[in-house]
């Protein structure tokens, strides 16, 4: 690979506080050699081949902390190749894969399998997470030490919560010695039992059993109480309600060290979008009220929420063409994560720096990986963005193997033009 010169781009790198017109030099090994306004046409050799990005936005490749792959066990929903294509078209260069597969990712032999498949079939970086409990049963903790040594970056039961307080306290206590990252999906499964959508006027009208916001708050409060005793690396996967935000804001103010995420769905949609029983909007955590959504947006803006995820959960048509109660939960989103998030920039809800940081440098900091920023020597994982390009979401054009997008026909502004992984063009729209 020759040295490459990308010039005339609006570079935004929240971690290094770069927001300027300039360029990037990628060395022979696909690493970042130089970045910023000094990388310009004038400063580079005249005969060198340069790529003029015509003032488009250049940001670090995105990191999506919550993605369901489908391998092994659900290959008909999504495989590493289709996931990779979808991610790259959305400017996502790294994902944390969830362990909710068949079999569950709960032992070291599975990690080798995942890494091999991920390397052979996908062009993005796969950071597998392993489950917190064996077989996601919430009874016996997994081998945090051994799994971490094998390269597991995070531990989570994915769609499930560790319900047993005794087990959770022991997990947090034990994990603190190996510095393992614990990621909790916060929902009390007894309070939410049988629930399908947010508990409120809409659930009353549709006759669907509600999931109270308290089911989320109560787990977050419990875990934060444990955190006081056992200082481990703790991250709340996705929060959905205003009630939980006030708990988190208060705890952070008191100096507790932990982080929290939110799904782009909860930032961009609310319970009214469910309309006439649209099963593509059956999500976990559920879409809540417009008031909750506005609070979540505010919480991203002021740093109470650190990370935005796609919560990419492919479901085949068969598992969605059912009554609302019987339909599977989840929506795809890795390809539309950034364009949908940009809606919040265009309508002046969230500052661009904060928005980009929540999908690049913040997840990198939490996961402790050398990604998500344009540091010299880092892999050149880049996303080139036409921030004003209007387009309409059509499920037939999305690259994921499953087509359960919650935003079919939504008009968006901003589209990924090129994606680089390790200095190579892995996606080019033109």
């Amino acid at each position: 690979m020759n040295e490459q010169y990308l010039i005339n781009a609006q570079i935004i790198d929240p971690k290094n506080q770069i927001d300027e017109l300039g360029g990037v030099i990628i060395d022979q090994n696909g690493k970042i050699k130089a970045v910023g306004k000094d990388v310009s046409n004038e400063n580079l050799p005249k005969d060198a081949k340069k790529t003029n990005l015509k003032k488009m936005i250049l940001i670090p490749g995105l990191i999506d902390m919550r993605v369901f792959v489908g391998e092994p066990g659900y290959e008909y929903k999504e495989n590493f190749r289709t996931l990779s294509d979808a991610a790259l078209a959305g400017g996502v260069t790294s994902v944390v894969s969830m362990p909710n597969t068949v079999p569950v990712i709960d032992n070291v032999s599975m990690v080798d399998f995942l890494k091999r498949r991920g390397r052979d079939k996908s062009r993005i970086n796969i950071f597998p997470s392993a489950s917190l409990s064996k077989n996601i049963e919430g009874k016996q903790m997994t081998e945090f030490g051994l799994l971490k040594k094998k390269g597991i970056t995070a531990f989570t039961d994915g769609v499930k919560t560790i319900q047993d307080p005794q087990l959770m306290s022991r997990i947090m206590n034990y994990a603190s010695q190996s510095q393992s990252l614990i990621v909790q999906h916060a929902e009390d499964n007894i309070l939410s039992k049988g629930g399908l959508i947010n508990d409120g006027e809409i659930s009353t009208r549709l006759g669907l059993q509600g999931i109270p916001a308290l089911a989320e708050k109560i787990i977050v409060e419990r875990d934060l109480a444990f955190l006081e005793e056992y200082m481990c690396r703790y991250h709340i996967s996705q929060i959905s309600s205003e009630k939980t935000i006030s708990v988190i804001r208060k705890a952070k103010k008191e100096g507790k060290i932990f982080t929290a995420g939110v799904s782009i769905n909860n930032l961009s949609l609310n319970e009214n979008d469910i309309g006439d029983f649209k099963t593509f909007l059956k999500l976990s955590p559920p879409l809540r009220t417009e008031k909750d959504r506005l609070s979540l947006v505010q919480a991203v803006n002021d740093g109470t929420i650190d990370v935005i995820v796609s919560d990419h959960k492919p479901q085949d048509e068969e598992s969605k063409r059912l009554t609302f109660a019987q339909a599977a939960t989840g929506a795809i989103g890795v390809e539309t994560l950034l364009p949908l998030a940009l809606e919040l920039f265009h309508n002046k809800s969230i500052r661009i720096n904060q928005l980009i940081a929540s999908m690049t440098s913040n997840p990198a900091r939490i996961l402790k990986i050398n990604k998500g920023s344009l540091d010299i020597g880092y892999d050149a994982d880049l996303c080139i963005l036409d921030i004003n390009k209007p387009w309409v979401v059509k499920k037939s054009e999305l690259k994921s193997k499953s087509k359960n997008t919650p935003i079919e026909n939504r008009k968006l502004q901003g589209q990924v033009v090129m994606t680089f992984v390790n200095g190579e063009v892995a996606f080019n729209r033109n």
């Binding site: 669907l208 006439d276 059912l322």
Partner: protein, 316 residues
């Protein structure tokens, strides 16, 4: 009379009867006016008409039902339709067939109307998107039971002349009740004042947003009411404990002569059935022919369903 004639001229815009929420005021009145024409017929010795001769009606009941299913069956037969009631217990659905696959199979037999009852809210809506015939909702989950509300309205009109201006109390297990929801929409639409009376654990979230006054004290809730609608305690839908015991429920929310005294002297007692005597209603009140119109509800139910079948069968 001129007004009624005018209303009759209004076309029903819906292809299906999925819920009261989808109906307009004039559509409701058209159904009720049509139903009135069948009341006398149903009392006569020769009850059979040929309005729906050659039409096929399929009753698809995923939940056990006595009165609604037989009422729809009788209504169809009296209009001359060929009525088939599916026995779900022995059908492919028990073998894991999805609702849509069942719908496609039935659709291939070219029915003109499907009457569906399902334990999942929204199931009739899903069905209506997949079949070429009209769909009538005979109760879905906790969402709606439109023909029950329509027959309740007809019963009230039959006794009191109109619904407008009446004060109606709906009492009991509001949380799990589709009858309560459909009646709240319908009675509000027809101009009644609606109170709901229930223990706090049996009230759905934000129920007041549906336009009702909420009471946890039954005597206060019944105060000055013209109509007292009792609901069945739906034990089969309850997951976990909502109440300490039937005994305590009866003490505070069972309809007794003492509590009924708070309502108007001539207040009517209604119940969609089946009743839990001694749990939500005192046996003497349930059988009091001067106050209870429970049997009349069943009787008029057939007329209302005949009207619905006639109107919606023609739609497609």
């Amino acid at each position: 009379m001129a007004i009624i004639k005018k209303l009759k001229a209004v076309e029903i815009n819906q292809n299906h009867l999925l819920g009261i929420q989808d109906l307009s005021f004039s559509e409701v009145n058209q159904i009720l006016d049509e139903a009135k024409t069948f009341i006398e017929l149903n009392k006569s010795t020769s009850k059979k008409l040929d309005l729906l001769r050659g039409k096929t009606q399929i009753n698809l009941f995923f939940e056990p039902s006595t009165r609604t299913q037989s009422s729809f069956e009788l209504a169809g037969k009296r209009l001359g339709a060929d009525v088939m009631s599916m026995n779900i217990v022995n059908s492919a659905i028990k073998k894991g067939e999805t609702l849509i696959d069942t719908a496609m199979t039935l659709n291939a037999m070219h029915p003109d109307i499907i009457v569906i009852r399902h334990q999942d809210s929204g199931a009739p809506n899903l069905l209506s998107q997949k079949v070429n015939c009209a769909v009538i909702n005979a109760g879905d989950g906790r969402r709606e039971h439109p023909t029950q509300a329509l027959l309740d309205a007809l019963t009230i009109i039959n006794r009191r002349g109109k619904v407008q201006g009446l004060r109606i109390a709906i009492c009991g297990d509001i949380l799990h009740s589709r009858v309560a929801r459909s009646n709240i929409y319908l009675m509000n639409m027809l101009g009644a004042e609606v109170n709901v009376v229930a223990p706090k654990t049996l009230l759905p979230h934000s129920i007041e947003r549906l336009g009702v006054k909420v009471f946890n004290d039954m005597k206060k809730g019944l105060d000055g009411c013209d109509i007292v609608m009792m609901l069945r305690l739906q034990n089969e839908r309850m997951q976990g404990s909502f109440l300490p015991s039937p005994r305590e429920y009866y003490e505070y929310f069972g309809l007794t002569p003492d509590k009924l005294a708070a309502a108007k002297k001539d207040a009517l007692i209604m119940h969609p059935g089946p009743m839990n005597r001694g749990v939500e209603i005192d046996t003497i009140l349930a059988d009091d022919i001067n106050r209870s119109v429970i049997r009349e509800q069943v009787e008029l139910g057939v007329a209302v369903r005949m009207a619905c079948l006639k109107i919606f069968c023609k739609k497609k």
